[in-house]
Structures are given as C-alpha cells and as structure tokens.
C-alpha cells in the first residue's frame, strides 16, 4: 500500500511539473512577440489592476475605466477596492514583494515614502499638464522637480454650522471675512450647558482644526523643504492654544467625550453648534438628523489670513508595472478632464482639474459649497515628509494631552517639536 501511494505521488508531481513547464513556455512565446512591437507599449494586449479605497467612488471609477477602454480597446482594467483601514498594509506588502497594482490611489502622507523609494513612475509633461491643477497639489505630489502623482481631487476645510442653534441663541450667522474674535465670541454665546449644547468641538485632528489655525497664526507645521518641524514657534502655540481654550472653558466636549462619540455625529444630532470639517463631510451632514439646518462658512480670519490646508488624492503608476506605458497613460487619464467631469457628476468629490467643479458645488442646494473652492486658491499643501506617519504618531500621542489640559500648550508643543524633529532627522 505504501509503494502504491508513493508512485501515485510521483506521477502527480511529474504531471504538475509538466503543466507548469508548458505554462512557462506559453508565457515566453507571447512575451517575445510583444517585445517586437515594444515601441510605445500602448498597443499591446494588457490587463491592468487599479486599486482604490473608496467604495462610494467605484461607480465613477468604473465609468472612467470604460472611457479609457474605448480609446484603448486592447487594455483591460480591473478595479480593486480595499478598505482604508487595510489599504496601506496591503499596498506595502504587495509593492515590497515586487507585485503591486499597476495604478493606484496615493495620498499626501504616504507620497514621499513611495516616491523616494523609487516605487512610483514619473509622469512627465506629455502626460500631465500641471497648469490644469491647483499649484499646492502639484507641489504636494512632486519630488525633486518631477511629478509622480496626477492630482485627482482635492478637499479643503470649512466651518459647518447649525442655523437653528444660531437662531435660537440669537447669534448672527457667520459671514465671509469673519475673524477669530467673531468665532470665539460665537462659540461662547452658543454654548448652552443646560441644553447640552456645545459651541464647537475641538477635535484633535490636525487637518480639520489646528493645522489650519497654526498657518492662520503665521506659523507652520513643517517647512517647505520638509526637514524642519514648526511646532516649537509661538505662532504654533497660538494656533493650538485656541482649541485647548475651548475645552478648558467648557465650550467643547472633552477629549474623552470625543473619543467615545465621534464629534461629527454629535454635530449632526444638534449637540454641537459648529464643526470644522472637510468638504468630504457635506454629503453625510446633509443626511444627518439636523441635515436641513446645516450650512457651511469659510474659515475665520486669523492674524495672518484664513488659509485652509488643502489635500487631495493622486493617481500614481507603479514603477514596477509590467505595462508601464499603459499604466502611466491611465494614471494621467484618470485625472484628466473627462475623468474630472465624470467625478463631478457623481457629486462625491471635488475634482482637481480646473474648471470642472461646478456640478459638485450644486450637489447640495442648501449648503454654500462654493467656499471650499474659494479656499483652494490660497490653500497650504498638507504637511508631509518622507516618513510622515512617524511624526504623525507622536502628534496623536501628545496633542490630545495638550488639548485636554494635561500638559500646558508650551510644554507639550516643545516636547512634540523635539520628538518630531528627531524623527525627521532620521529621514536624512
């Protein structure tokens, strides 16, 4: 019985090996024939993989793929949606093993990491005309003067507010040009302990709150060369301090409360009167319980202006793609004019291509979404470096302590600045 078993196994292995051998010869044959026409590489049969992380945008992406396939019928593109939580885990694993998708979405914090390690293909001017996009985004996705990501969409920050709560408190609604002082005064008047209403929520998320106020105070989070942290300056202290004060004065839910309950949900339920959030939040707030009472205002003026941080996604091409020319062409196309029009029509994101944003602005009639577009012109690129997540992690540890008053603003920021700078120095 043992003998029979082994012989069977031998035969199975032999069969398997033969099949594998055939498969390889099959591959190499087609390989040689296509390398003969390797001129522009766009005419060969190719199947590309396109990885994204937002299931809500998949229908729009599918339309973009269909448009591209009409122009290049020999190229098939498969879309893979991976949830945000796992996207970078999967991407790193695959790219490290030399096997990532051909085209995929990139964001600011991860950009420099991927670009500086040579995993992204440069997109030259024949593919992407940078004058079609906001300058801040082009800067965000360029390294050493070369563009590696084609800007796909952008988001800026606005002040969402609840009209009903303003009217009930007898506070005039925010108008363009309102200042930090107006803002602070409104927060004080809107906070109503007995009714369980807070004027504002000091969410410890930089992009939504304190990054913006740091720049508005005249400071910076990181310098343009991405090698110097700006948290140690007095302007940074001013920018962070304003949020800590709200919690100290009982005008914002505490850090603990905001960890228990997402402040956006509290805002949508009428427990918070104002909430600084990104343009992406508009759709959700429109569907919330207070939906019809919610509108949005531009950021208030600080000592140095009312800049918002701008961020956006980019389509990037994998430098190790087996169909590099096709991958680069699609990455550029997915951020081009036709793609932008398709994205605008769905109302899910603000396309980055200049002049295509009208449809998004009109998507929610009750909200003044134009302010998000206006802010793009003066916006600051989202602060990044080669290993952004290293010092972001330190921010997540220290900022909540500062905001909750466990450490003073000056001491906390000095600590943060020192530790973050140490991480930055490791990047050299």
């Amino acid at each position: 019985m043992k003998q029979r078993g082994l012989t069977r196994i031998h035969r199975a292995v032999a069969a398997g090996a033969t099949i594998v051998a055939f498969a390889f010869t099959g591959c190499s044959t087609s390989g040689t024939s296509s390398s003969v026409n390797a001129g522009d590489g766009l005419n060969e049969q190719a199947t590309l993989s396109y990885t994204i992380w937002d299931a809500a945008q998949k229908p729009a992406m599918q339309k973009i793929v269909d448009e591209f396939t009409k122009i290049h019928p020999n190229i098939t593109i498969n879309i893979d949606v991976v949830g945000t939580k796992d996207y970078w885990t999967k991407m790193q694993t695959a790219v490290s093993a030399g096997s990532g998708p051909d085209v995929f979405w990139m964001n600011g914090p991860n950009f420099a990491l991927y670009a500086s390690n040579g995993t992204l293909a440069p997109l030259d001017s024949s593919l992407v005309d940078t004058s079609n996009y906001p300058k801040a985004l082009v800067d965000l996705y360029s390294l050493d003067g070369k563009l590696y990501g084609a800007p796909k969409d952008f988001d800026t920050i606005g002040v969402f507010y609840n009209k009903r709560l303003f009217q009930e408190a007898g506070v005039p609604l925010p108008t363009a040009g309102w200042t930090w002082d107006d803002f602070k005064a409104d927060v004080a008047k809107l906070t109503n302990k007995s009714a369980g209403v807070y004027g504002i929520a000091s969410a410890p998320y930089g992009q939504m709150t304190f990054y913006n106020t740091i720049y508005q105070a005249g400071g910076e989070v990181i310098n343009a060369a991405h090698d110097q942290i700006g948290y140690g300056s007095p302007q940074a202290a001013e920018g962070v301090g304003i949020w800590a004060d709200f919690i100290k004065n009982g005008q914002s839910p505490t850090i603990q409360q905001m960890t228990d309950t997402w402040p956006g949900d509290s805002f949508g339920s009428g427990k918070v009167a104002m909430f600084w959030d990104g343009s992406w939040g508009a759709a959700g707030y429109a569907k919330s319980a207070e939906g019809k009472n919610i509108d949005v205002a531009p950021l208030p003026m600080g000592p140095h202006g009312n800049q918002s941080v701008i961020h956006g996604l980019a389509n990037v091409a994998n430098a190790q793609s087996k169909h590099l020319a096709a991958a680069k062409a699609f990455a550029a196309f997915a951020s081009g004019k036709e793609a932008a029009d398709i994205m605008a029509a769905t109302g899910t994101v603000i396309p980055a291509f200049n002049g295509t944003q009208e449809a998004w602005v009109k998507a929610i009639p009750g909200m003044n979404l134009q302010i998000f577009l206006d802010e793009a012109t003066s916006a600051i690129p989202y602060p990044i470096s080669k290993n952004t997540s290293a010092w972001n992690a330190i921010e997540s540890d220290i900022i909540p302590q500062i905001l909750s008053g466990k450490v003073s603003v000056e001491a906390g920021l000095a600590d943060l600045a020192a530790k973050a700078q140490a991480e930055l120095d490791k990047e050299k």
């Binding site: 594998v20 498969a23 993989s49 990885t51 992380w53 937002d54 299931a55 809500a56 498969n78 879309i79 893979d80 949606v81 991976v82 949830g83 945000t84 939580k85 796992d86 885990t89 999967k90 694993t93 695959a94 490290s96 093993a97 030399g98 096997s99 998708p101 309950t261 997402w262 956006g264 949900d265 509290s266 949508g268 339920s269 427990k271 990104g278 992406w280 939040g281 759709a283 959700g284 569907k287 919330s288 319980a289 939906g291």
Partner: protein, 292 residues
C-alpha cells in the same frame, strides 16, 4: 443541579419523582437565561440597526428602535457582490475545513499514540507556530505564493490554511484522553497503526472532530487579512473582505445600517452550520453511554 454537575443520565433521585423538566432545572435555566441574554445583547443591537436610516444610526444619544423602519438589505447587494463573495467564502471554508480535519486528525493521532524519535521536540516546533503573531507571516507568505504563481486565486487563499498547529494540538488532546483498551485490543489483533486509526480511533473521536471542524470553519469564514492581501479581483474575494470594505469609510461616515445588514447576512451560513452540526454533539452522547 446535581445531575448537571455530574453529567450522569442514568440516575433517579428517589423522592423527587419525574417532575417537569423545567421545574426540576429552574435554577439552571435561570443562570443560562441570564447568561445567554448577556451574550445575545450586541446581536440585538446589530439587528435593530440594520433597519435604521443612516441619520438614525449615528444619532446622539443612540436611537434604539428604528424610526422609520428602513429596508437596507437591497443596498448591501448594490455595494458588494454578496452572492459571489458568499460562494467564495463557502468554497474556501469547505476546502480549509476538510483539509484540516483530515490532516490535523492524522497528525494529532501521530503525536498522541505513535512513538517515534524526536516526537517531543517536533511537537514543540508545531506549537511554536502558534506563538508568532500571524501578521509577521504576511510578507513571507505573500512572497511564497507569488513564486508559486498563486496570487489572486482561491487556491492561494486555501493553501496555507490547510495546515494547522492548533488543529493538531486539539486532536492530540482528544486522542490522549481516550482509553487505551480498544487500541490495545486492535493492536493485539495484528492491526497496523493506520487500521487502528481508521477503524477504531476515528469513530471515537467524533466530538473532537466536530469541535475542530466548527473552529476551522469559523476561523476560515471570518479570516480577513490573508484573503485581503493576496486577492485583488472582487469576484474572488470572500465575504469577510466585502464586509470590511463596508466598515471602512474613508471619512468617518460608515453606513452603519448597510454594514449591519451585510454582517447579518454574512453570519447566517455559519450560524446554520453550527445549528446543524450540533446534532453531532447529541450523537456523541449516545456513544458515551455505550462506553465503560
């Protein structure tokens, strides 16, 4: 209560007669009802939330009873290819469960009843596999599968899952807790180890095998990270990946009602399998009575 803790079926307690089972066991039922209510509670929330609107699901303070009652199950099918994913999950789970039941039962028996050189150290090597956080395996396993050409395939998902140190350990324990007499009898009759295993031990190990099958099926059904990493095509992904997609909205606006609806649907096959396999437990009682 005494019968419960002693597990014996055959004893009559004089003086109590055959009272109604509910009354006799009232204390037991009380404990079990309280216990199971505690267990079931989050499931109740899951069920109710599946019928809320998005606005209702994020209301602060939380809304218990949906108002208005909304049908979200259709939206699940719009968001992910549920049918295909369910099929994938079934195939993957069946393959991995069958594979583990066969391989781990054999390996467990080998460690429990066969004497061979280096048995002890080898078992420790097996156990050491359990002690490494599984995330550490991700990259090397990915590379192995890539060189085998099994990326983006159901086979690739199944392959590493056929081998389990936990399953081996579980079956070893079960085999070791069985009395030796039957085995010895078979051996004295001249049976070789395979025949002893196949004809004598395997039938006796049914409860253990059922337990192993239940665990493996459950683990396989909910396994998320591995299929996520190696499969890119949506039509080859299992349910767990689809659900994780619904749970990770990039802007903190997870559509909870749809997520709960999908989670309920995804849970059904496992629940049904468990209820069906439970009968095997009952069959086990019959065999227990014939021993000893």
């Amino acid at each position: 209560m005494s019968e419960a803790l002693s597990g014996s079926a055959a004893v009559h307690r004089p003086g109590r007669g055959n009272g109604r089972p509910w009354l006799r066991h009232w204390a037991i039922h009380l404990v079990l009802i309280v216990g199971s209510a505690f267990m079931v509670f989050p499931f109740v929330w899951e069920f109710l939330t599946a019928f809320k609107t998005y606005g209702g699901s994020v209301l602060v303070p939380p809304q218990w009873i949906p108002d208005p009652w909304t049908w979200n199950f259709g939206a699940v099918f719009d968001s992910i290819p549920l049918g295909q994913m369910a099929l994938n999950s079934v195939i993957i789970t069946l393959a991995r469960t069958l594979g583990q039941v066969i391989l781990c039962t054999m390996a467990g028996y080998g460690f429990a009843r066969l004497n061979f050189p280096l048995r002890g150290p080898l078992f420790l090597v097996f156990l050491s596999v359990l002690m490494v956080p599984s995330q550490l395996f991700l990259l090397p396993q990915f590379e192995i599968l890539r060189s085998l050409g099994l990326l983006n395939s159901l086979e690739g998902i199944v392959l590493p899952g056929l081998f389990s140190a936990f399953g081996t350990f579980l079956m070893r324990q079960f085999f070791m807790s069985m009395p030796l007499e039957l085995e010895e009898a078979a051996r004295l009759d001249g049976a070789n180890p395979w025949q002893v295993f196949w004809r004598v031990m395997l039938p006796l190990a049914k409860p253990g095998i059922v337990a192993l099958a239940v665990f493996t099926a459950l683990w396989s059904w909910n396994d998320l990270l591995w299929p996520l990493i190696i499969v890119s095509d949506a039509d080859k992904q299992p349910l767990s990946v689809g659900i994780s997609l619904l749970a990770s909205d990039p802007h903190n606006q997870t559509n909870y009602p749809v997520l709960m609806a999908a989670a309920l649907l995804a849970m059904l096959p496992m629940l049904v399998t468990f209820i069906v396999l439970q009968r095997q437990f009952i069959a086990g009682i019959a065999f227990t009575g014939s021993k000893g």
